[in-house]
Amino acid sequence: MTSTTSPLAPRGRTVPAGRVAPLLETVSPTSRSALLVAGGYFDTAVGIGAFSLNSFALAQETGAAARRLHRGNKVLYDVIVNDLGMSCSTDVCTLPAAGPAETDLTPLTAAAAEAGTDFTVTRERNLRNRAARSMKRWLREPAAQPLFSLDGDEIVFRSRQYEKVLAGVVKGDHVVPRCPLIVAEYFARYFARLRAFPDCAHRHVIDINSLADRDKVTKGAEIYLRTLGTPEEEIVLVFADAACADPTALTYTAYDF
């Protein structure tokens, strides 16, 4: 009979039990941390489905366990909404800002109210436009960020994990950001919010994703951590199926690259 616990997992410390345990493996039980837990992702074209509800519940459970881990921990929640209405690889340059009341969030707000928490919503349309603007700034001054390079009309990120990471495509005067850059953009926004808690020694973004998004969020985590990340910041990429019963967590810091 073999153990069902990874022999390589950190030992000798108290971690919460159950499915949230791997998500909080690296959160300190002895010093204050600021955490943002992103769960509940959904596509406006499809609406709030099983993955959204279950990952939102997982996020709430994770946040509650993080609070129990250390009384001084700060926990924020966010839901990412795909309101692009198309694949992010579609060659569209900028999109009009999202309308305010186009999606019914009632199932999520009800769940949050039951848990006694609140959450913010991040719309991919906004992320995409911000990413496009930042890449346009980079095009004007490429020396400011040497990890990006222009290869024909493609903006390529020099990855240390993947042979090639396409960050965007130049279309005339515009830049079309690709998924990894949009992901890096939300990490940038999340960590900016966590910096509002300067008394917290560590900052963690716990990002709950569907299994299919593994590569794009991993690439986005690398882009953020290598261009803007600081030593006290950590990204926990969580992958789960629609039930979110057995999530798997992969932890990244700038040190890992």
């Binding site: 073999t2 153990s3 069902t4 616990t5 990874s6 022999p7 390589l8 997992a9 020099r158 240390r160 994990q161 993947y162 042979e163 299994l211 299919a212 593994r214 992958f239 789960a240 199926d241 057995d246 798997t248 967590a249 992969l250 040190y255 890992d256 690259f257």
Partner: protein, 383 residues
């Protein structure tokens, strides 16, 4: 009576923690770590934990660690990969006491039109850093120097050589297979750009190894891969990862990191006890040092007028070596012992003894008695 295993420079038995980790891997991490489903991601997570453990052990970043099938593949990939990344023939510097996987790789480069300088060593098997500096040329692509020798345990001045190669802008490769189990290894302190070792020399599984490539080197120009295919290991080493072995290696590294210094002291004590017992019973001559600058757990010695290969045939229940195990089928005297200037009769009588994690004092004493009983009773060897 069970065999007394004192050949830990050839290979080591797996630590029980490694066996446990590999059992876990076999039953829970059988999926391909590149697969997009949950089982694949779980396997990937364990592989990355192992990569992180290796990175911490040698002071590297996780993105600087590549898994290979062992040190031989790692040495081939490091040397050929650097030589091939720039067009045209280049110059490589190495030493006369390197493992065959380095020397033969360099020989293959020479046959392909590259130039290779093989530097001599002193009587202890140590390279003079000044000789390395003098050998560097504008077209030198790589210097390869081992951390510690697999036959005579000499620890090389890698950090001093690293300072020289860094200043000259030449990448330094270090085969750390023999040193990483006993010595603190920090790639930044050593100043190396490439470092290799295998799992089975540190109580891990066979068939898995580590190649460290500094991001400083990779970012300038990536190494040329030897294997092409699925793009695993960031395109440097194609082929589905040996997940169970990688996870076993991660466990081995964890055990090693937890007690390396204390273990080195204990093993040096066992070696001392063995040599004292032996000295009371039979004359011998040391071919390797036993003080600072040598690995703490091993010794190479010669019995006068004794053919060591014949000797080992007559010693029951004792596993030791007459030289590098990799080289023992070569039917020629050890290139390392020749490089330090030993006469043929000393080489013929040489025995390599290496203690390990599960060696006991009683075994050290019994081994000394067993060797002495046979060596002392041997008739003189005739040429």
């Amino acid at each position: 009576m069970a065999t007394i295993y004192l050949d830990h420079q050839a290979t080591t038995p797996m630590d029980p923690a490694v066996v446990e980790a590999m059992n876990f891997a076999a039953t829970h991490c059988y999926a391909n770590p590149s697969s997009p489903h949950a089982a694949g991601i779980r396997a990937f997570r364990e592989v990355e934990r192992a990569r992180g453990a290796v990175a911490r052990l040698i002071g590297a970043g996780r993105s600087e660690i590549y898994f290979t099938s062992g040190a031989t593949e790692g040495n081939n990939l490091a040397i050929k990969g650097v030589a091939a990344r720039t067009g045209g023939p280049r110059h490589v510097v190495t030493t006369a006491v390197e493992h065959k996987s380095v020397l033969d790789t360099c020989r293959s480069l020479r046959e392909a039109g590259h130039e290779v300088t093989v530097l001599p060593v002193d009587g202890e098997g140590r390279i003079d850093p000044g000789r390395v500096a003098a050998a560097l040329r504008p077209d030198t692509a790589l210097v390869s120097v081992m951390l510690a020798n697999n036959e005579i345990s000499t620890v090389q001045p890698v950090a001093e050589i690293g300072a020289i190669t860094c200043a000259a802008g030449v990448p330094l490769h270090c085969d750390a297979t023999q040193g990483v189990g006993s010595l603190p290894v920090d790639v930044r302190t050593l100043g190396v750009d490439l470092l290799t070792f295998s799992g089975h020399k540190i109580y891990g599984p066979k068939g898995v190894g580590v190649l460290y490539v500094s991001n400083r080197l990779s970012d300038r120009a990536p190494l040329a891969p030897l294997l092409h295919g699925g793009g695993q290991e960031r395109g440097l080493r194609a082929g589905t990862l040996n997940t169970a072995a990688v996870i076993g290696l991660g466990a081995a590294v964890g055990v090693l990191a937890a007690g390396r210094e204390e273990e080195a002291v204990r093993l040096a004590g066992l070696r001392g006890r063995f040599l004292t017992e032996l000295a009371h019973r039979v004359p011998y001559t040391l071919n390797s040092g036993t003080g600072p600058g040598f690995l703490p757990h091993a010794v190479n010695l010669s019995f006068p007028d004794v053919d060591a290969q014949q000797l080992l045939l007559e010693v029951a229940g004792l596993a030791v070596s007459t030289g590098s195990a990799c080289n023992s089928s070569a039917q020629e005297p050890s290139h390392v012992l020749r490089a330090i200037g030993l006469p043929p009769e000393r080489i013929r009588g040489s025995v390599r003894i290496a203690f390990g994690r599960f060696s006991t004092e009683a075994e050290a004493v019994r081994a000394a008695h067993a060797l002495a009983a046979v060596a002392g009773a041997r008739p003189p060897v005739t040429a």
